[in-house]
């Protein structure tokens, strides 16, 4: 069995002191609202710009994975060789490491295995499909409408694209789909290119093939815009309230 879940730094270099100060405070706060109002305002704008957590059921609850170790099952063969590799340092490993860094303190840890872990809530099988997905890849999930926890989920990659995609492009794909698994929706802001944004296909006569195989101009790992919603959600444990972690 091969597994990997090692940490990897992903924070963007343009991260400013004020932003970092807010992020740190939000992580350590309980149910008390941070009092540094100017910093809060600045970051709230980022969060309001989306992505937001998906809601489901009645009453509306935020979707999330269980607060446990979640295995990304990538079967041995071409898919594993392309996404993980013998040294566990390829696209999927980078995406998992980046999200693990962001999820510290939530109780959720991601890992990769080439052994089938079933179809339950702690396993996300990755497969390839020749069906037209309408994009580079897709995430399907079955949330418990009462708690928001994912009962089952899966990631499918479009067979027409991934064998020819760059490692950066595949990193974006896996990180993006993992964010859906975590409960994040798309970033619909026109001017923001976060991991969860829908990129503008480049070129004079663009093709989806090019956009699904080349990461030029795209954010490939979760940036602050994608991560900030974590601290304002009930993520990782449905008993938490919307007040950040550590409560």
């Amino acid at each position: 069995m091969r597994m990997t879940s090692g940490p990897q730094s992903f924070f963007p270099s343009l991260l400013g002191n004020t932003v970092l100060a807010f992020f740190t405070e939000a992580l350590s706060t309980s149910c008390n609202t941070p009092t540094v109002s100017s910093v809060v305002t600045r970051n709230f704008n980022v969060v309001a710009c989306e992505p937001k957590w998906n809601l489901t059921g009645n009453p509306l609850v935020q979707e999330h994975l269980q607060a446990t170790t979640i295995t990304l099952y990538i079967p041995a063969g071409p898919l594993y060789d392309t996404l993980v590799g013998p040294n566990s340092n390829l696209a999927a490993a980078s995406a998992v490491a980046a999200w693990n860094q962001a999820l510290v303190g939530t109780g959720v840890t991601l890992q990769i295995s080439d052994q089938n872990c079933g179809s339950g809530p702690a396993c996300i099988p990755v497969s390839s499909t020749t069906n037209d997905l309408g994009g580079c890849a897709q995430y399907t999930g079955i949330p418990d409408v009462t708690t928001g926890e994912m009962r089952s989920s899966a990631i499918q990659l479009q067979a027409a694209y991934w064998p020819n995609a760059s490692q950066d492009r595949l990193t974006r794909t896996i990180a993006h789909e993992l964010a859906h698994a975590l409960g994040l929706g798309h970033n619909k802001c026109a001017l923001t290119n976060s991991l969860m944004s829908v990129p503008k296909v480049p070129g004079d006569f663009p093709t989806v093939y090019a956009a699904c195989t080349d990461a030029t101009g795209m954010t490939t790992l979760p940036n602050l815009t994608d991560i900030l919603p974590l601290v304002q959600s009930t993520y990782g444990n449905h008993n938490r309230t919307v007040c950040g972690y550590g409560s």
Partner: protein, 200 residues
């Protein structure tokens, strides 16, 4: 190189079919968690297809209105589809005769999409495409469609890319994407010109 690619494709196809056959059906899932409603969601790493790429592939480009909708379980019980009956207002590109219906009858188009809501063994089963909401009866749409010859129904090209809302003769993207914003406000006449050029 070609052989290697062919082998890879064959492996992937076989693996995909094998994986699909081992998946539980929606009926299995509904029974497992009954009486709780079953919700399955779908989201993509969305890449909206440019109109210039999908219109040349289209069998039918139509401006129309949703007249009716019917959701149903697929034959293998692993999906719910919805058939939308569309009354064309203007066919921008398509077959010269009515796509469906008897001669002299109403001109209608049947559009099939993944998703919808049904009741299965007393359990509510909803399949939700989060990139493109289900259409509603009365919706006025601009659609770029491909014919599925296996069942005679049309499908959106690119699953979600070929669907736009129409208000006051101008289109609005239904898929949220910066790449589609430049299309907002284009008139049906302008799209007719584009369609004519791409299908020349």
């Amino acid at each position: 190189m070609l052989t290697r690619y062919s082998l890879l494709l064959a492996f992937l196809t076989t693996a995909a079919v094998s994986a699909q056959q081992s998946e539980p059906t929606l009926r299995d899932l509904a029974r497992r968690w009954a009486p709780a409603p079953l919700v399955q969601t779908r989201q993509r790493e969305l890449m909206p297809y440019p109109l210039e790429e999908i219109i040349p592939k289209a069998d039918l480009v139509v401006h129309g209105r949703v007249k009716g909708a019917q959701s149903y379980l697929s034959g293998d019980e692993r999906a719910v589809y919805t058939d939308y009956v569309i009354t064309p207002i203007r066919v921008l590109y398509g077959p010269p005769s009515p796509p469906s219906g008897q001669a002299g009858g109403p001109r209608t188009v049947t559009l099939k999409r993944w998703g919808g809501q049904i009741t299965l063994d007393g359990v509510s089963v909803t399949l939700e495409d989060r990139d493109l909401a289900q259409f509603q009866v009365g919706d006025e749409l601009f659609l770029v469609l491909a014919l599925d010859k296996s069942d005679g129904k049309y499908q959106l090209i690119g699953q979600v890319s070929g669907g736009f809302r129409v208000r006051n003769d101008k289109i609005e993207p239904l898929v949220s994407s910066p790449g589609y914003e430049h299309l907002r406000g284009r008139t049906i006449d302008e799209l007719q010109t584009l369609t004519n050029r791409l299908h020349r």
